[in-house]
């Protein structure tokens, strides 16, 4: 082979090799950057979050607010309507909220309010809240 051609072939191979290694180092840098941002850096605060995304302790307070209102105006369906924005299943959410409230150390008085509201929410109240979707 002519020496010039051979030299050109060698240069091309070197160039390709460098491109490959360059691509690999970009990929390594990209992986490192993504890992830092997604695994190590603290998560950012949400913005414009829906009510259902409220932190558990604030959901507990929302249930307490509903219970305070319930104590004065005992309407289980109204209570469910007030809480429906917090979860698709307000009844289960109430249970979680009361557990959270106990963990936080809510007063006995507040716990009693929440439990009284929960106890008053029966199957009929849930059916009425759902609009009688079961057909009855």
């Amino acid at each position: 082979m002519h020496p010039d051609v051979e030299e050109r072939l060698n240069n091309l191979t070197l160039k390709t090799r460098r491109l490959i290694f360059f691509g690999i180092t970009i990929a390594i840098g990209l992986a490192a950057g993504l890992a830092f941002g997604w695994l190590l850096a603290p998560p950012q605060a949400p913005d414009n979050a829906p009510l259902g995304q409220l932190r558990a302790d604030f959901k507990a307070d929302a249930v307490l607010m509903a219970a305070e209102r319930f104590a004065a105006y005992p309407d289980p369906v109204a209570a469910l309507r007030q809480l429906e924005g917090l979860a698709d299943d307000p009844v289960s959410m109430m249970v979680s909220a009361m557990t959270e409230a106990e963990k936080i150390g809510y007063s006995a008085e507040d716990m009693a309010l929440m439990k009284a509201m929960f106890a008053a929410i029966d199957e009929n109240a849930v059916k009425e809240w759902r609009g009688g979707s079961d057909g009855n």
Binding site: F22, I28, A41, A49, P50, R55, M65
Partner: protein
Amino acid sequence: METKPVNVARVSNNWYLLTGLLIGLAVGLLVSLLLVPLTNAEALPAELDPAAKAEYRLMIARAYVAQPNNQRAESRLALLRDPDPAGALVTQAQELLAAGGAEEDARALAHLSAMLSIGALSAP
């Protein structure tokens, strides 16, 4: 013709590797911190959207009307970090009435706003 010693040539030829690493790192950080950042799954009341904040404000007002507790109402409202809490309550009451909402709810919001304005909520 003088040529560079082999080691120096190799080092000076490998700077492109560091450049690649830095470019990748910069793009990775841009994506993970600015374009698609990880956000907290749980929100504080101040981080809610306007509609959710309005619902939360209404809950506070209803609870206050049912069981007036100044300290509790004030601390709950403070969580929303409204620049003008009394104003936000009145505005919400007006918007509720204009939209044909429950008068009782509008009254609760207005009542809480009035108590806040006269400083009743700051009283022990």
